[in-house]
Symmetry: C2
């Protein structure tokens, strides 16, 4: 029996406790009786009772006779219908089988007056017609296809109860009548026997209520079995299967079922009920005593209780949309890792609200993206650059991707930019929706730097690339007089690196402090999906100071981005200053401490935004 890999032993799960109490509560319910229209079915153990819930990520909770086999019966119908859709396409199937609830009992013939099309695929007539649409000349071929599909749903090889099948076939006179009526209207072509025998065999497939829950979880998971990872049905037909279950799944109790539980479902006279909370969970219940409509008595009672206790109703008001915006902030609170000169930093602070950064979350669909579009358009007039981070987005549907693409076009028309950062797996969908490749940035850091450069280019059009900087213009050496600078010039080592060279390796001892006098460098660490930039600096800036002060080993690499010239203060020289030039030492320490408070304040601003 395949089990979820995450099926770790739980000492006591409150969810399992709850299912056990539910099982205990309803095991005394002994109304109804086992189906007896064929002798083999009447042999079922009337007191068999199992309940199973499987989550859309494949975790299973089960109590009672959850591994007791029984025949799937009518629960096969929506699955066969799904396969018929996949094999023939929606139009061909809808031309032969309707999707209207009939209001009639399960074995009513219910054909449309003129076309002879069965009203829906979950009455016998519709199910037999669906069997006719499964490829294969013989019942054996057709049934092999069905068994293969059903087994992918269940995640294990299913088989047919041969005695039930014989019994179904021997007593299936009414269904044969339906088959010939379908032949009469050319809904079935040729001899109806293969479709009929396929129908009898599909009803006789053996399942457990554990299987039913997994089948439900597969439908909840867009058609992919969450335990095995294999696809049972194309995603585009899942909504069709669930729709017919919602309107026609429970015979002439379907309306009240949906009203009470709000769950698409299907019952079978073998005693099973399969229910699905779309996108969330599958439920399987087994208890063979049936009510007058042919539904499991305990099954209905348990599902009603589950739906109420667990708040599963599709239309429950608590299913309300969750805002897609997790964080909304501006360059006033978050900055790129590119350190700036004091003048540039000051300008960016003053116009920082012209760069807006949004972190989106959850499944992006029309209703969740619409407020984002509204927000962007409302700020179009006063914003230069919008950045939308997608790192924790779980899904972007086609409608949402299209809307984002159209919003970007409209913003560009107004002279604004919209950049996406950390698009990851959603890059292709956004490209397909029409977003240009140039809109994507690896992370917020680079997207922010791009926005900052746009703002700086307007204010300092001549800034261009950084040139060499004299010692007195380096931040660490602010406030020294000429003699002191001359002394420092003698004490500081000179180093040069080519573009791409590593200046500092993670793990090294931290006995040196660097000041970059020409060039550009970056601090970075390797992460699971590439390189993350932690800091970047150009001429005049200090690096390596944190580890230098607290003497911890280097925690990241520093790489030259262009040819770099540095001045290096070693720990020994720094120590000598205590006695040889205490005034210089005091100013260096003051400048270092001032730099640290700047970094600390920036980190705290970003923490405040994220919390």
């Amino acid at each position: 029996m395949p089990r979820s890999p995450s099926q770790a032993p739980l000492s006591r799960s409150p969810i399992l406790d709850y299912l056990e109490s539910l099982h205990e509560r309803f095991r005394g319910l002994s109304e109804g009786s086992v189906a007896d229209y064929i002798p083999e079915l009447a042999r079922a153990e009337p007191d068999g009772f199992g309940i199973c819930i499987a989550t859309h990520d494949g975790f299973v909770y089960e109590v009672g006779d959850s591994h007791e086999p029984f025949t799937i019966q009518s629960i096969s119908k929506p699955l066969t219908y799904g396969l018929a859709l996949e094999e023939n396409g929606e139009d061909a199937v809808l031309a032969r089988i309707g999707v209207e609830p009939s209001g009639d009992a399960f074995n009513a013939i219910s054909l449309r007056p003129h076309s002879g099309a069965p009203l829906n695929p979950l009455i016998n007539a519709g199910a037999i017609a669906a069997c006719g649409l499964i490829p294969g000349e013989t019942a054996t071929d057709k049934t092999a296809r069905l068994l293969d599909a059903f087994s992918r749903y269940a995640g294990r090889p299913l088989d047919i109860d041969a005695r039930i099948y014989r019994s179904e076939s021997e007593t299936g006179h009414r269904n044969r009548a339906i088959g010939w009526m379908l032949r009469n209207f050319s809904i079935l072509e040729g001899d109806p026997t293969p479709a009929l025998e396929t129908y009898f065999q599909q009803c006789s497939i053996r399942v457990t209520c554990h299987d039913l829950a997994i089948i439900g979880a597969t439908l909840a998971n867009g058609g992919v079995n969450p335990v095995t990872g294999s696809r049972a049905i194309a995603e585009e037909y899942v909504d069709n299967v669930l729709s017919v279950m919602a309107t026609c799944g429970m015979y002439d109790f379907s309306g009240e079922w949906l009203y009470r539980t709000g769950l698409p479902a299907k019952s079978g006279v073998g005693g099973g009920i399969l229910a699905v909370q779309p996108g969330r969970i599958g439920i399987g219940v087994y208890s063979p005593r049936l009510d007058a409509q042919g539904n499991s008595v305990r099954g209905i009672a348990v599902c009603r209780e589950l739906a109420a206790d667990l708040g599963l109703h599709l239309f429950d008001a608590s299913q309300r949309a969750v805002p897609a915006v997790r964080v909304a902030t501006t360059r006033r609170s978050v900055a790129s890792k590119q350190r700036r000169t004091p003048a540039a930093a000051e300008h960016l602070r003053s116009v920082g609200n012209r760069i807006r950064l949004y972190h989106l979350q959850g499944a992006l669909a029309f209703a969740s993206v619409e407020p984002v579009v509204r927000e962007l358009m409302a700020h179009a007039a006063d914003t230069e650059c919008f950045i939308v981070n997608l790192s924790v987005v779980q899904r972007i549907d086609t409608a949402a991707a299209r809307l984002l693409a159209q919003t970007r076009v409209e913003l560009l028309r107004q002279g604004r930019t919209l950049a996406f950062s950390e698009a990851g797996a959603w890059w292709q969908r956004l490209i397909d929706a029409g977003v240009d490749r140039e809109a994507f940035y690896a992370d917020d850091d680079f997207a922010l730097e791009h926005g900052e450069n746009l703002l700086l280019a307007k204010r300092f059009p001549d800034a261009g690339s950084a040139a060499a900087v004299a010692l007195e213009n380096c931040m660490l050496f602010t406030g020294f007089d000429t003699d002191e600078l001359a002394l420092l010039d003698r004490l500081l080592a000179r180093r040069a690196y080519h573009a791409g060279q590593t200046i500092i390796f993670a793990g090294q001892a931290s006995d040196e402090l660097f000041v970059i006098t020409n060039g550009a460098a970056m601090v970075s660490i390797a992460t699971h999906d590439g390189i993350t930039r932690l800091d970047a600096f150009t001429s005049g800036m200090t690096f390596g100071e944190v580890a230098f002060i607290d003497r911890s080993p280097r925690s990241a690499n520093v790489t030259a981005l262009r040819d770099v010239e540095c001045r290096v203060l070693t720990r020994d020289v720094f120590a000598q200053l205590d006695h040889e030039a205490p005034a210089i030492k005091i100013r260096l320490l003051s400048n270092l401490a001032l730099g640290l408070t700047g970094m600390l304040r920036q980190a705290n601003r970003e923490l405040a935004v994220l919390n």
Copy 2:
């Protein structure tokens, strides 16, 4: 006309662009014909055409004749049914009106064979029976109730088209027959005339498709009109109303409608269609040409297109659950603001993974909380204290609250604690579900401090409350010799504060650095929901150093938590040291810089977790 307050002028919304293109595409569709079963209806302008979408938070997009009035007709039926449920309760209503789709046309009588109960509330028989269940002796009384409820749905006072009403009443022979048949079965009691006249009047209520969209948004918003904020229907009945719309809303096209659009909806022969994406949006379409089933031809075409383009289908696989855990971390990465002595800090680092912190997000329901429960139970063996932060949770339903309460009970049984931080509005729901009052903390900071204290109490059982600390044991004075300490002792001012006194006011100049030698104090700022603690310290620790170094004004208050004794280093004394005791100045600066790197590394660890 009431409008959303957020209805700011949008230069060009891509969503409005889309609706305009849809309107353009379908305005040429001229199949079908205006209802003519009563003369007044036949006078409608056949080419009238409006489309409107209202979001669950009350934002409106509309194109075409969205303010053209027409009569609501059958779209009144689900609203009246909702009021009947509110006034009589579910059981009383279900005893008289079923919820099964009939498969029949709208004017079929469709009563159950023995009870005479109409099959559902959206066929005429069911709607007339629902009018009988609205309180009031006369049609005037009943209609006044309905008008009031409908007006709350629409957010403006609605009225009745008197000519249509007269016309409906004069030609309503078939409906009178239904009324008397309902009287025959005692579904209606007494004279059926008031119920019938109420029915004719409710069908004649004038609306626009803007109104329909707002009515839909009200249902999507759990029964509260999102523009006006007033409740139109109790939340508990919203799922019932949407359920009957889903199975019976579009006459004998209901099954195919749900299959195609996946939206609960209701049409009327006045040319309106109301559709709802539960929890998300309301849609109103107006176009009076009807098909053979009595549904608006353009209305159906537009809704099918909208559902496909915008991905609105209820069972669309993209509606999958979003994980509730936004952040999962341990005390190794985040810490309380309570600064610790070096020994305590070292111990907390080594056992930090015994405190686990989770930030949850979104709407918490069974399916989203279940994986959280699974995670907590899986770590029960190796965790002392779980903290669950609820600050960005948008909703906790009863099932989720109960599950969290039961999980806490099970964890307590195993000797673990589960604390909730920032529960805010969800506090009451969790209390009602059985969570003890002692489980709640104002924020992560206090919850973490509680967890840290639990871990520290095991390792340092005798620690107790902090005592006075000598200068040489204060962190800032580490590494000084006896003479230096004696000098410092002379230079440092002494201050004492009573518990509760403010030591530093936000906005003050930052000319002093504090070392606490006895007592405890806290840095805090006032926020929109109270006080946020930024830092807390006890004997031996330094405070006020960041602003002292960068000379910015104080950004927060510091308050004595117990009686406090401090030593104070003024900026003047600090400056004098440059010349009078440079070695002391150098060590003080080194110790300050070291403290800053510690704070910076902690901030960066927390940023890494949150990003």
